[in-house]
């Protein structure tokens, strides 16, 4: 096990985070604050509470999830895309480091950053609305699991992308719609029955539902299923990464 190698990648990536602290932390915090002002305070004050939770509090888990997803994907994809773009990937490929160790370094750093951002948003949200966390351990578990899973997904996108445009397209065209339609701002029970069925094909529904359960004990789908689906998605990402390294897809020519 090349522990020094993992550590080197992890610290290198974290250094990038600290160097870009303003856009890393400030921008998600700012955008989330805007959501709270618009949806939580302005619109939320005229909305009925959902499942006994005030609307302002109801959107907190969804908003954190929204940031976790986009941040995890963008950090991890950027982390592995940059060496490909600048050409410094030669060093990674010629180093005595295995695929798993490489992934631990990059994904670990991206996930760490996501967890930090999630925590900061949680604290920011507390300034706008009053909420409690019923199952803190599960809350942390979902936070970490989602960060890791979507950092893995981001890693795959970073390997796949061969232009900055492609790097943006998946988060923008697929993840953001899924996150918005995944019940970040509403309970899917509010949808007509047909659309409720469709919504169950959206993986984000399970993440948001499970995460919201850890806050308020209410969920759109059973928390066990939420957990199961998250793990399933994580396994799918791991399988894709295993395939990437085995075949050298877009990394080795």
């Amino acid at each position: 096990m090349n522990i020094y190698g993992i550590k080197a990648i992890y610290l290198f990536e974290m250094a990038r985070t600290w160097r870009t602290i303003m856009q890393s932390i400030a921008s998600p915090v700012l955008s989330t604050s805007l959501y709270f002002i618009v949806f939580g305070t302005a619109i939320g004050s005229r909305m009925a509470s959902i499942d006994g939770v005030s609307y302002g509090a109801f959107i907190v888990p969804g908003l954190i999830m929204l940031s976790l997803l986009t941040e995890s994907i963008s950090n991890a994809s950027f982390g592995i895309y940059m060496p490909k773009f600048t050409g410094t990937i030669y060093e990674l490929l010629s180093a005595p480091i295995s695929a798993i160790e490489t992934v631990i370094g990059y994904v670990g750093a991206a996930a760490t950053k996501s967890v930090i951002i999630g925590t900061i948003i949680l604290i920011t949200a507390r300034l706008f609305v009053d909420f409690s966390i019923e199952h803190p351990v599960w809350m942390i578990a979902f936070l970490v699991l989602t960060s890791v899973t979507f950092s893995l997904f981001g890693f795959i996108i970073g390997v796949w992308a061969d232009s900055f445009q492609k790097l943006q397209i998946v988060p923008l065209m697929i993840v953001t719609p899924l996150a918005f339609l995944g019940g970040s701002f509403y309970s899917i029970n509010m949808l007509p029955p047909f659309w409720q069925k469709i919504a169950l094909f959206n993986p984000v529904v399970y993440l948001v539902s499970g995460f919201r359960w850890s806050f308020y004990g209410v969920a759109d789908v059973d928390v066990g299923i939420s957990l199961g689906m998250t793990f399933l998605f994580m396994l799918a990402c791991l399988a894709a990464i295993w395939w990437i390294f085995r075949t050298g897809y877009k990394i080795k020519n």
């Binding site: 090349n2 522990i3 020094y4 190698g5 550590k7 080197a8 990648i9 610290l11 290198f12 250094a15 990038r16 160097r19 600048t86 050409g87 410094t88 030669y90 060093e91 990674l92 490929l93 010629s94 180093a95 005595p96 480091i97 050298g248 080795k252 020519n253």
Partner: protein, 323 residues
């Protein structure tokens, strides 16, 4: 307790074995381009080996395979006895690579990027060693500078520092002096010699023949994915090197006097130059005799020059001969 002095330790049984052994190595890219055709090559421990070849000959592909950047199609490579695929960790730990392109991070400091490389190659941090490398490469002053603020030559030094950061036993330099100014080139040559003295095996690719001539112990010529020859540099120069004496005549000749005719002496087409070819290595070059006899014939010359076939001529004739 005194530290172990490696230079005085008895040589291990494998010490004379080649440090890199390439056998039957072929590479066909997905595009169908066959970059390497069944290469066999052995690099001796502690030597400077220059791999010469025109652009597109397969130099970089060969190096990239040995370093693990490109997957081989067929064949095997061992580095210090370790298979580069099956046993890649010990193999790669021993290898340092300075690639051809100036590929560096932009926002990291010199110190950070070199330390990163050491960690990546599985070595614990050793600030004293990094400091030594940076000082040796005249980078110490720049250690906190962001890489993007460095000149091209400085970036090249950073890449060498990165390659040396994990104390490799084998160093690959892919076109190390392409686009490098004279001063840096001389520094680099000195550095390479210093490394060899410390026991590092160096493989460099170049298309500057003078570089190979200046530095290498042995020379390999690669063309169209095949190793054309591998030879000790001096043997190669001796075998194929020729010297020519050109005499620019006072007045053109229409023909050589019959008793001067020989395979070594030729009259140029316009009759203005006499070209005498002789073996650089032989004791008796025959120049004195030639000049005396020209004098006897009353053939005067106003200028003369001698030229030695360089590695370049040898190289060009080899590569041309094959194509």
């Amino acid at each position: 307790m005194k530290p172990l002095d490696h230079s005085r330790m008895p040589e291990s049984p494998g010490a004379s074995a080649p440090i890199i052994s390439v056998s039957g190595l072929s590479k066909t890219y997905a595009s169908g381009f066959q970059a390497l055709r069944s290469i066999d090559l052995e690099i001796r421990r502690g030597e400077i080996f220059a791999l010469l070849g025109p652009n597109g000959a397969g130099k970089t592909t060969l190096i990239s395979i040995i370093c693990g950047i490109v997957n081989p199609s067929t064949g095997t490579v061992t580095a210090d006895g370790h298979d580069i695929v099956g046993d890649y960790r010990p193999a790669r730990t021993k290898i340092g690579l300075v690639p051809q392109e100036l590929t560096t991070d932009a926002f990291e400091s010199v110190w950070a990027t070199v330390s990163f490389s050491r960690g990546l190659f599985g070595k614990p941090a050793n600030p004293a060693y990094i400091e030594k490398i940076l000082k040796d490469l005249s980078l110490w002053e720049k250690k906190d500078t962001k890489i993007m603020a460095l000149s091209g030559g400085m970036k090249r030094r950073v890449m060498i520092a990165k390659a040396l950061s994990h104390e490799p036993k084998i160093l690959f330099l892919d076109e190390p002096t392409a686009g490098v100014d004279v001063e840096l080139r001389r520094d680099m040559w000195n550095m390479v010699r210093g490394l060899r003295e410390s026991g590092v095996t160096i493989i460099l690719t170049t298309h500057y023949i003078e570089e190979a001539e200046e530095m290498a112990d042995r020379i390999g010529v690669i063309n169209k994915g095949e190793i054309v020859l591998v030879e000790d540099k001096h043997t190669l120069m001796q075998k194929l090197g020729k010297k020519q004496l050109t005499l620019h005549l006072q007045s053109p000749l229409t023909a050589l006097p019959p008793d001067l005719q020989s395979e070594h002496l030729q009259l140029s087409a316009d009759g203005a130059d006499l070209v005498y070819t002789f073996d650089t290595q032989s004791e008796e070059t025959g120049i004195a005799t030639l000049l005396r006899r020209l004098n006897e014939h009353g053939i005067d010359f106003k200028d003369l020059r001698t030229s030695e076939s360089s590695l370049e001529d040898i190289f060009v004739s080899l590569v041309r001969g094959r194509s």
